[in-house]
């Protein structure tokens, strides 16, 4: 690995990081850790950093947070506009907002940073067996709960048992790691005996029924916050966590107030994660539409997000616009079992008549990436570009004629704007482009809540998919034969096999071509027109420093400071 030519096969982030290191923004040790997480062998990483290869590659502190800013000032209250939701039970959170409210109190085993790299958090490190069926997590020592208890494997075990409790209904069961620990008995899913093995107070081992690649990434999914072994819902009644803050007040639809924890069981509380700067974090309830106006009125210091249609407004307001590249997308997918999309030629004709490279700049003039009709994004570490697709109107017409529609075709797409009005803009752009190929696209706009009622059944619908850290994750959730979220009804044994192989490969470089093979099959099937990888935007006032824009909008304010 160390002798490999690193110029063209490396993850693009490595090159970025290298630039940062060379310009002095990133220290060398940081770079090495970063590169290692992206699949670069430690030896190669140290060589790139110009450091001697040490025997222990771990930093002493090994913290997942950004480096401390030497100018940072302590103190202050950060006010954020976001929807304030109920937070009864972290294992059953349904929305990112709820998890943000709890994220500074309850922490995760791993943490995926704004750079889409997953680092150890409450765990100190982890190891996977070669077959990816046994994962060992080594927990961080010296982590304390707010009530003074030590954080141990008991806590972790308690959480895994809760998540797999069929009566709780946690969506974590759907994660590939957790689903590999359950079996179905009498129609109910339960934890397999012996799946969790407690080695000692700070070592825990998981035995999985099938190989799982994304275990660390899964551990930062929003409902996987680790609660205390004595947890009883609702969370607001007895707030207890390992984080630097604790929820002092949570009024749904109004406000959520978090305060710095200074004392644990009569003793001064020492937070494991190093320095934090803010005294308090306040979330105030504002609808997505009104957050920017609230920010403009200086009621709040930062906002959860704003839509691209508000960009001009945002630019006119004093403050910093922070954007993140993501793998969030809009999938205009066709159900393979509904007329006229049963015919692969019809699907391909639609995909061919759409010009993704024109839609992206029209809808998101700033940021974002052009999609290529398969569900792996350039920000994914295991992304490998397929040969570029280009618009072919004549080809589309020919395919349509061959499929029995020589005079064109009329289809209707359901649009729910679940993620903002830009869905409709995409559909409108598609409508104009499809017209050239003789395809009439009717746009049926329905309310978001209605769309979620039909999203898996509608013949042609535009569904928003959120970001997931690895390319294999959504491919597996949305396109594998028979999985619940397979909204297109796509079924291909060849695809499943290719994906299985990719998911069984830990080495990123080796995984890329395998995933590309699956991607190609999906692209060729024409089930999905995926024109955009959208950026997300948020805003913070100039007095807020280090406000992170995370691709899944997860808030992590440990190193944010005001001044």
């Amino acid at each position: 690995m160390s002798n490999k030519d690193t110029s063209n096969t490396l993850h693009p982030k490595v090159a970025d990081a290298r630039c940062q290191m060379e310009s002095g923004k990133l220290n060398r040790r940081e770079f090495v850790r970063f590169a290692a997480l992206l699949g670069v062998g430690a030896g190669a990483a140290y060589a790139m950093a110009g450091l001697p290869n040490p025997a222990v590659a771990q930093d002493a502190a090994n913290l997942p947070f950004p480096a401390d800013d030497p100018d940072a000032k302590a103190g202050g209250i950060l006010k954020v506009a976001m929807q304030v939701q109920k937070i009864d039970d972290p294992a059953t959170f349904s929305w990112t907002q709820a998890s943000n409210q709890a994220r500074h109190m309850l922490e995760h085993l791993a943490m995926t940073g704004p750079d889409n790299v997953t680092r150890p958090m409450l765990a100190e490190r982890w190891e996977a067996s070669d077959d990816l069926k046994t994962w060992t997590f080594y927990l961080r020592k010296g982590v304390k709960w707010h009530n003074g208890d030590d954080f141990t494997t008991e806590d972790v075990k308690f959480n895994f048992e809760r998540w797999t409790d069929p009566d709780l209904g946690s969506s974590n069961v759907g994660l590939s790691s957790i689903s590999a620990m359950v079996e179905e008995v009498d129609g109910k899913k339960r934890l397999i005996d012996g799946a969790i093995e407690v080695v000692d107070d700070h070592t825990i081992r998981f035995h999985l029924a099938k190989p799982v690649l994304s275990f660390p990434e899964d551990m930062y999914n929003y409902p996987t916050a680790i609660v205390h072994r004595g947890f009883r819902a609702p969370l607001d009644d007895s707030p207890n966590g390992t984080g630097a803050y604790r929820i002092a007040e949570n009024v749904v639809g109004d406000r959520c107030i978090l305060k710095r924890v200074t004392e644990a069981d009569g003793q001064p509380f020492e937070y494991w994660g190093g320095k934090v700067y803010l005294d308090e974090i306040h979330y105030y309830n504002f609808d997505a539409d009104n957050q920017l106006t609230a920010f403009a009125g200086q009621s709040v210091d930062a906002i959860y997000d704003f839509g691209v249609e508000q960009m001009e407004l945002a630019k006119a307001i004093d403050g910093q616009i922070i954007s993140a590249r993501t793998a969030q997308s809009l999938c205009c997918r066709m159900r393979v079992d509904a007329e006229p999309f049963t015919d692969v030629r019809v699907r391909k004709a639609i995909a061919m008549a759409v010009d993704n490279s024109l839609i992206k700049p029209l809808v998101y003039p700033e940021g974002g990436d052009v999609g290529e009709n398969y569900h792996v994004a350039p920000v994914h570490p295991d992304y490998q570009a397929l040969p570029p697709i280009s618009r072919d109107v004549e080809g589309a017409k020919a395919l349509l004629a061959e499929a029995g529609y020589p005079d064109g075709l009329e289809v209707t797409i359901d649009v729910g704007n679940t993620d903002g009005p830009w869905h409709q803009t995409v559909a409108e752009a598609m409508r104009d482009q499809l017209k050239d190929a003789g395809i009439t696209l009717n746009i049926n706009v329905i309310p978001a809540s209605k769309y979620w009622e039909i999203w898996t059944q509608t013949p042609f619908g535009a569904t928003a998919w959120t970001h997931r850290p690895l390319g294999t994750m959504v491919m597996s959730l949305g396109y594998r034969t028979g999985v619940p979220w397979n909204e297109s009804g796509f079924s291909s044994a060849e695809f499943d096999a290719a994906l299985d192989e990719a998911e069984a490969t830990l080495d990123v470089e080796a995984r890329k071509p395998l995933l590309a093979k699956a991607s190609k099959i999906l692209q060729d099937s024409g089930v999905v027109v995926l024109p955009i990888w959208r950026p997300i935007y948020c805003m913070a006032s100039n007095s807020v420093h280090g406000y992170p824009a995370h691709p899944t909008q997860y808030h992590q304010f440990n190193k944010v400071w005001m001044g």
């Binding site: 009104n290 001009e312 407004l313 006119a316 706009v445």
Partner: protein, 339 residues
């Protein structure tokens, strides 16, 4: 056509002002407009011609209206505002306007040029021409507003006549349900009904009917109670006419006067209701232009002084239409008092 025949003298206009030609003119104006807005997507090749007969009909109606209202400048002003928007509604397809749904140059301020296009009223957040959106938008507001009011009147008047004329159990039952509906604040009723049926133009008609019909029913019932003691009703009863005949032929024309004033006011309320509901997300759905929708979209993208034209244009448009209805009602009331 209207202009040349004006020369034929007032006698011709007088002849036109009689009920029958008036109804024909109103139908000529209204049916094409309604068909165009409600079923425009199914017209295919006829879409461009269907509104043609409505243009002269609207103009003639306007002239007749001005003539009839000439004593009250308030009423003429109201009539002019309403007919301005009506004329915009029927001529929209033939005006030299840009496609109201086509994004051209986002956030262009009024009276300025961008990408070689001049925008009188600027463009919205998607770059769609505001002038063309506000003109096309009035079609939907007017058609749905008037249709909803008309349906509410048919239903309300029917129940009112039955309740007032037949009295007894009919009256008890109908009045109780009217009271139930009247006990709800209008907005509560709208929200509950539209939330149940789902947001669309037709459902707005249903919701407005539920909200307005009880009040109309009460007015008509009161009038019917009063009129049914009149001689000509007795005469019809002794002739042995069917109650339905008496209600429609004898009673209905005689309750017309007060109802017309109320109808003008109610047209205003309904327009407010539709705009407000659309603003709240319960009314007409995008992407076609509509004033409430324009406000809704601009309220989140243009809350800034330099973009405030996006909010002001639809707000002023809807206010002027409602002002028109209210002034018309005022003038009519004034005139009826004078008689």
């Amino acid at each position: 056509m209207a202009v040349t025949e004006l020369d034929a003298g007032p006698s011709f206009l007088d002849r036109l002002s009689r009920p029958k030609p008036l109804i024909v003119l109103a139908v000529l104006m209204w049916i094409p407009l309604t068909v165009y807005v409600m079923f425009g997507d199914r017209l295919d090749g006829y879409a461009d011609t269907v509104l043609l007969p409505a243009i002269p009909a609207t103009l003639v109606l306007y002239i007749l209206g001005v003539r009839a209202f000439r004593e009250s400048w308030v009423a003429v002003l109201g009539l002019s505002l309403v007919f301005f928007w009506l004329l915009m509604a029927v001529t929209a397809p033939y005006l030299p306007l840009m496609d109201p749904n086509k994004p051209i140059a986002p956030f262009t301020t009024p009276f300025s040029e961008k990408r070689d296009v001049f925008f009188w009223l600027g463009t919205d957040f998607k770059g769609r021409d505001m002038l063309s959106r506000v003109i096309w938008g009035c079609q939907r507001v007017i058609v749905w507003g008037v249709s909803a009011t008309m349906v509410a009147y048919v239903v309300g008047a029917l129940f009112g006549l039955v309740s007032g004329y037949l009295s007894g159990w009919w009256d008890e039952i109908i009045s109780f349900f009217a009271n139930v509906l009247l006990s709800f604040p209008v907005m509560v009723l709208f929200i509950v009904i539209l939330n149940y049926l789902g947001p669309s133009g037709f459902n707005i008609v249903v919701a407005v009917t539920f909200a307005s019909a009880p009040a109309i029913m009460r007015i008509v019932r009161g009038l019917a109670l009063d009129i049914k003691t009149r001689d000509y009703v007795f005469a019809a009863q002794t002739r042995g006419e069917h109650p339905l005949y008496i209600m429609i032929v004898e009673l209905l024309p005689n309750v017309r006067g007060p109802i017309i004033v109320d109808a003008c006011l109610r047209l205003g309320y309904t327009t407010v209701a539709i705009t407000t509901l659309t603003f709240l997300g319960l009314g007409l759905q995008p992407p076609d232009p509509d004033w409430g929708l324009m406000i809704r979209e601009s309220a989140k993208t243009a809350m800034l002084w330099k973009f405030s034209y996006m909010l002001l244009v639809p707000a002023l448009a809807v206010s002027s239409l409602i002002l028109g209805f209210n002034l018309m009602a005022d003038g009519l009331r004034e005139m009826s008092l004078r008689d």
